[in-house]
Symmetry: C2
Subunit: 273 residues, 2 copies
């Protein structure tokens, strides 16, 4: 991703700086959403809003009404370019409290960044990508599993394991050695025509594209080991910016790009934003 | 703790704001140290430095030499008051990188806050404190266990469980139901004259006061369940600001303040800073 920020705002004000006493920095006490802006609109906005709300419930943050969400995001949408772009929202518990203790009436910080569209090569979606396994394992914690919170050191450590640009993503295992997700994507596989994706009740992030696939297709939620994944007929990863990317090579194991993967790509592409 | 910041600096410059693209905010990609400033000097500075270095190795952050640490902290020490104060250091991976991927040559941010001394009541150390058990469990992840990184949502959620000012600290269990630590302290217990503290190889933070006690006393590192902890003869918690606090009540269970706890308090108090 081209990491050059176009514009940014904190609580509606144009600024690229945040109070160092914000709990987002001190403890990762908050959530984020990385959203595709297409034609000046947030793609799958209700999915992103719903996940943020789920995260707020889990972390005990004040839950914004949809109208409040819209109001906070308006400043960025007013500056959205016509071409595709990325809107990143960081929502923290704001300042205050003593040590880990939260303030009684937290005033969350709404931090917005408008970023250029990453321009992943078209060949990734068409001809497939290459994956490795990461050595960094995902820890277990049902308290935090599934939501997109700011405690992301596991993903940072996993992504630091390779520099080879021929490898587009790394799959992460949990402490039990089960396949959970990519460093920045969810993973699906196909076996005898059935679509599968891992359970995310102990670790991993439940992505928006994953949620959309679960709405459109009959997906079995199962755990799987790397050894069993070798028996899959098709394999793909997905996220909100990359879309659905077929995997043709996972740690040297070859996969065909099959009809189910293509059907998922087609279905999501046809869906109205 | 009185949370009013006296002064703060980022990379040597007096400012209370940080770039919102800092990875400390985006991912909790960094470490922190909360240090007692006594007579203008950092208490147990080499312990804090050593833990920061251990954390840098674990997270793949550039490891500062001791002279660099001193240089970065000098600006705060030059403004240290004569009375006790707190110096909080947040060290992040700085800006840059694409998504989770770190920049090749990260330029860490050194964020310093000079805070007033918390003034815990003297009665806590003398007459003991009351603890509860937290429902929020600590997840397991050996990758991150022990170091004082910025991914602290577990502690935030645990500390949010009670408001009762008669309860000074909460003990946290791990996913297996074993006692690990307090939300902001380490825990020790005594049984038949032997001092014990939990293993921190899968979760928890290895505190500086804990390290000092391990240097002075013969401590057995063991796991313990809440049921077994009821059989302890003495119980105490500790951290760098509170010191060693005897526990007289844990979730209704009464404990005596015994000779081992007093010996630990005496030994640490006599130690030269």
């Amino acid at each position: 991703m081209n990491n050059r920020t176009i514009r940014c705002w904190v609580d509606g004000q144009p600024t690229d700086h945040l109070d160092i006493r914000d709990r987002g920095l001190a403890y990762g006490d908050g959530l984020f959403e990385t959203m595709a802006l297409l034609g000046g609109r947030i793609a799958h906005e209700h999915h992103h809003y719903a996940r943020l709300v789920a995260g707020c419930h889990r972390l005990g943050l004040p839950v914004p009404k949809f109208a409040q969400w819209q109001e906070h995001l308006a400043v960025a949408l007013n500056h959205a370019p016509a071409e595709p772009a990325v809107l990143k929202l960081i929502l923290t518990r704001g300042r205050g409290g003593r040590g880990y203790r939260s303030p009684q009436n937290p005033k969350p910080s709404w931090i917005l960044q408008l970023l250029p569209w990453p321009d992943y090569p078209k060949s990734w979606a068409e001809q497939g990508i290459t994956l490795r396994y990461c050595n960094s394992r995902l820890g277990h914690n049902p308290l935090l599993a599934g939501i997109k919170h700011l405690n992301r050191l596991e993903q940072v450590l996993a992504r630091s394991e390779w520099d080879d640009t021929a490898i587009q993503e790394g799959l992460m295992l949990d402490l039990d050695g089960q396949v959970i997700c990519g460093t920045q994507s969810n993973v699906f596989w196909v076996r005898h025509g059935q679509l599968y994706t891992p359970k995310l009740d102990r670790c991993g992030i439940a992505g928006i594209t994953r949620a959309r696939i679960l709405e459109h297709f009959d997906v079995a939620i199962e755990t799987i080991s790397p050894a069993d994944l070798e028996q899959a007929d098709e394999l793909f990863v997905c996220n909100s910016l990359m879309g659905v990317l077929p995997v043709i090579n996972l740690a040297g194991q070859r996969y065909e790009i099959g009809p189910v993967t293509r059907a998922v790509q087609d279905a999501l592409q046809k869906e109205t934003v």
